[in-house]
């Protein structure tokens, strides 16, 4: 039986390979950018805008900070309790054009020892977890110096 590939959240990212991008929205009135997306009202208190258009966010940014999770996070994070916990790194990335910081997991295999504040990273498609029917996809940050 073939499994379906489903984004862990609908509408937050699109594409694959080199075309993978995070999706935000931009207010048509004041140009404020939102991620996670705002689709109804602009959150700039000085803007009455309510028309927001979908925009892809910059593919690349620089590490604002990073950490990792040495212990298994609680539900609703999905893990297999039968398997030993494998820590992963989390990276907060500053996007220059959008002037915002976006948090995400690092690609598997990248540890905190390989990261530094200010390092360039790019967003790539990744697998959050898999079950019998579905491959749940997400975004991940990968240092641009890494070719994997």
């Amino acid at each position: 039986m073939s499994r379906t590939t489903t984004p862990v959240v609908a509408g937050w990212f699109t594409g694959g390979g080199d075309d993978f991008r995070l999706l935000g929205t931009r207010c048509r009135s004041c140009t404020s950018v939102f991620f996670p997306r705002e689709d109804v009202h602009c959150r700039n208190p000085g803007c009455a805008g309510s028309e927001l258009e979908e925009v892809p966010l910059s593919r690349r940014g620089r590490v604002w900070s990073y950490t990792d999770g040495r212990y298994r996070p609680p539900s609703p994070y999905v893990t297999d309790p039968e398997l030993p916990w494998e820590p992963y790194a989390l990276i907060a990335v500053e996007l220059e054009a959008e002037r915002m910081v976006v948090l995400g997991q690092a690609v598997p295999g990248v540890t905190v020892a390989e990261l530094a504040v200010g390092m360039e990273v790019e967003v790539v498609s990744g697998v959050l977890h898999e079950d019998a029917e579905t491959i749940w996809t997400t975004w991940q940050w990968r240092p641009t110096g890494v070719t994997a």
Binding site: T31, S32, W64, S65, Y71, P76, Y77, R99
Partner: protein, 404 residues
């Protein structure tokens, strides 16, 4: 409503009584902790519960139905007596908002004497969001998509400080050393053993660079205060009560450019230039302005050391030192007992662990004991003014200024 003395109207309320249930992992219900704290505060105030006009409860989201209606839950447990009731939720700032609610009732003349209670029974391990499939809840989403626990954010802040300000792991550990030494002197603290730098360094990494002993635990506990009008205090024969002079409960300003719990991203600053100060700094500034005092006037402060690194951040946010100088202030000994401005004389969250709705009230209990000169071995000599500060999820934060 600054206390400028111009027309004699001060906006101050009196702290007539304070009480706590010891923090720990007791395995009982939060109502019991809250009632113990409430009775202690009433006894400290010399009041019968039936003399209280109003009760304000700080909600616990872990207590189910009775927690969501904490004010009524405590009122019923203490014995229905007809008091006005309010329940408030503001994440980690719940206790301070409960105090602010009580203050507002007193200053507006709706009540003369108000009992404020917060208590929690915390689960083992990481805090987690409510169950179910709830993609409209940012707290649920950060766990579902990223597995981002609270220590994830503490780790990000700590690493950022190391990169930007040059803080070291030993600086962070020294916060724990200081707070554990103070907690050892506090009968209400959960952890009463002094901790060394080596013990911090030897504890397990939870969220790089932070280790288990850098991060506050989750605890059971309860705290209560009895607030009243200055006139009521005088009628009770308390001529010089500890007074609450300011309660800051401000929200962030757009664009909020610090990644706050439980957010996955900051606001974008592309259309609006960010304010010159962070949300945390604005919480303290609003309290200073309301109280009509500045950082140089503080005898002590109780800040929300969810992690060791965050305590250093608070030094800067409270204006006790310049940006990036938190670790230097700690190394100079300014923030320990006997220093220029002792911070977390209670032992802080490092010694208590967090009992969310009780914690901001417990901070005010410590200020009160200090300002009364009743803090025993933890006493700050000649304490005249103190500030509490905390920050919680969803844009909540608080600072309380108390003086004597």
């Amino acid at each position: 409503m600054a206390a400028d003395g111009g027309d004699g109207v001060t906006g101050e309320v009196a702290v007539l009584g304070v009480g706590m249930h010891p923090w720990g992992k007791w395995g009982r219900g939060f109502v019991e902790y809250g009632v113990v704290a409430a009775r202690a505060a009433l006894a400290d105030a010399g009041l019968d519960w039936r003399e209280v006009d109003s009760i304000v409860g700080a909600d616990t989201v872990r207590g189910g139905y009775p927690g969501y209606v904490a004010g009524a839950t405590f009122a019923k447990a203490l014995g229905w007596q007809g008091a006005r009731v309010t329940s408030v939720y503001a994440a980690c700032a719940s206790g301070a908002q409960a105090i602010d609610t009580a203050r507002g009732q007193i200053l507006s003349g709706l009540a003369d004497v108000v009992l404020v209670v917060g208590a929690d029974a915390a689960p083992k391990g990481f805090f987690r969001p409510a169950g179910g499939d709830r993609p409209d809840d940012p707290d649920w989403l950060r766990f579902r998509i990223l597995g981002a626990t609270n220590p994830t954010y503490f780790g990000l802040y700590a690493r950022r400080r190391m990169a930007v300000h040059g803080d070291t792991m030993e600086d962070f550990a020294q916060v724990k050393v200081k707070n554990s030494a103070l907690g050892a002197l506090n009968p209400y603290a959960r952890y009463r053993k002094r901790v060394t730098v080596d013990e911090v360094a030897g504890s397990a990494v939870v969220a790089d660079p932070l280790r288990l002993l850098d991060i506050c635990a989750t605890s059971d506990g309860g705290a209560a205060v009895v607030l009243c009008s200055m006139e009521f205090a005088r009628r009770q024969g308390v001529a010089e009560p500890v007074r609450v002079r300011a309660v800051s409960t401000v929200t962030p300003r757009y664009p909020n450019t610090v990644l706050d719990l439980p957010d996955i991203a900051t606001d974008s600053a592309v259309a609006v230039e960010p304010a010159g100060e962070t949300f945390r700094a604005s919480i303290a500034r609003a309290a200073y302005e309301e109280a009509g005092i500045g950082p140089e006037d503080l005898s002590l402060a109780e800040v929300y050391d969810l992690s060791t690194a965050l305590e250093l951040q608070w030094y800067e946010d409270l204006g006790l030192c310049g940006e990036g100088e938190g670790a230097k202030l700690l190394r100079e000994g300014a923030t320990t007992l006997g220093g220029r401005v002792p911070v977390n004389t209670s032992g802080g969250l490092a010694s208590f662990g967090e009992a969310v709705p009780a914690q901001a009230i417990a901070q005010v209990c410590e200020l009160t004991w200090q300002l009364r000169g009743a803090a025993g071995d933890r006493q700050v000599e000649g304490a005249r003014a103190g500030m509490t500060a905390n920050q919680g999820l969803f844009g909540h934060g608080s600072a309380v200024v108390a003086v004597r």
